[in-house]
C-alpha cells in the first residue's frame, strides 16, 4: 500500500470551501432547483470530511457513515424534487418567493 501523499488539512480545506459555496447558494439563490444544488454541495462537503478523517485515523467508521449519508441524501433528493414538481404545478413557477401559501 502506498504512502499517503496528501495531508488531512488539505482535504479539510477543500471541504470548507465547498461548504462556503453551498451556504452562499442557499442564502442568495431564489430558484428552488439551485437551492437543491447547494444542499447537495453541502452534503458532499460533509461526506468528504468523514472519509478523510476515517482515512487518517485510520478507522472504518468514516466510510460506513459516508455510505449511510449518501443513501439518505438520495432519499432527500427524491422527496425534494417531487415537492418542487408539486409546487411548480400549483404556482407555474420555481421561484421560492412565489410559494406564498405557507406564509399564513
Amino acid at each position: 500500500m502506498r504512502k499517503m501523499a496528501n495531508e488531512l488539512i488539505e482535504f479539510v480545506l477543500v471541504s470548507v470551501a465547498l461548504l462556503g459555496i453551498g451556504i452562499y447558494g442557499l442564502s442568495v439563490k431564489r430558484n428552488a432547483i439551485r437551492m437543491l444544488f447547494s444542499i447537495e454541495i453541502v452534503i458532499n462537503a460533509a461526506n468528504l470530511n468523514m472519509v478523510a478523517f476515517g482515512r487518517f485515523l485510520p478507522h472504518s467508521g468514516g466510510q460506513t457513515l459516508a455510505l449511510f449519508s449518501i443513501a439518505i441524501a438520495a432519499a432527500e433528493v427524491a422527496v425534494g424534487l417531487s415537492l418542487i414538481i408539486v409546487a411548480y404545478r400549483m404556482y407555474h413557477n420555481i421561484d421560492i418567493a412565489d410559494f406564498r401559501s405557507l406564509k399564513g
Partner: protein, 170 residues
C-alpha cells in the same frame, strides 16, 4: 505538500460547484453539478476508499444528477434561463461566504489538524461490510425502510389527480 492529482481535482470540484450555481442555464448547471460530484468521487479514490467512490459514482452521478436533469427538463423553457436575484442580496451572500470561509479556515489552520499525517495502511473495504452486518445492522434495516418510504412518498406527492371525471389518473 499536495500532489498534482489533488490540485487538479480540487480545481475541478470547486470550479464546477461555482459553475453549478452561477451558470445561466439550469441544464448546464446540473451538468456542472455532475462535475462536482465526480470530483468528490475522485477525492475518495485519493483517500484509498474505492468502495465509497464507486458508491458515490453510482448513486450521485448515476441517479441523482440524472433525476435532477429530468426535473429541469420538465420546467418551462423561459424559467430555466430566468435569473432572479437582487445585487444587494448577492453582495451580502458573498460577504457571508467569505467571512465564514476565513473564520472557519483560521480556526482549522490554528488547530492541531495540521500535524496529522499517516503512514498506516488504508482500511480494507471488507471491514465496512463487517460493520454493516454486525454493529450497524439496525441502522441498515432502518435505512432501507426510510429509502422505501421516501420513494413511495415522492411518488404519491408527484402523482397527478384528475378531478374532472372523478377518477384518479397517473
Amino acid at each position: 505538500m499536495a500532489d498534482a492529482a489533488f490540485l487538479a481535482l480540487s480545481v475541478i470540484t470547486i470550479g464546477s460547484a461555482i459553475a453549478a450555481l452561477e451558470l445561466r442555464s439550469l441544464i448546464y448547471g446540473s451538468i456542472a453539478l455532475m462535475g462536482t460530484l465526480g470530483g468528490i468521487a475522485g477525492f475518495f479514490l485519493l483517500l484509498d476508499s474505492p468502495f465509497v467512490a464507486m458508491f458515490q459514482l453510482a448513486v450521485y452521478v448515476g441517479s441523482i444528477a440524472v433525476l435532477i436533469l429530468f426535473t429541469v427538463m420538465l420546467v418551462k423553457r423561459e424559467l430555466i434561463f430566468k435569473k432572479v436575484e437582487d445585487k444587494r442580496r448577492k453582495f451580502v451572500g458573498i460577504a457571508l461566504m467569505l467571512v465564514f470561509m476565513v473564520s472557519l479556515g483560521a480556526v482549522i489552520l490554528d488547530s492541531g489538524i495540521k500535524q496529522i499525517t499517516t503512514d498506516e495502511p488504508a482500511v480494507d473495504f471488507r471491514e465496512i461490510g463487517d460493520d454493516f452486518l454486525t454493529y450497524y445492522w439496525p441502522a441498515l434495516i432502518l435505512m432501507g425502510l426510510i429509502l422505501s418510504g421516501a420513494v413511495t412518498g415522492a411518488l404519491v406527492l408527484a402523482r397527478r389527480v384528475d378531478e374532472e371525471n372523478g377518477q384518479r389518473v397517473n
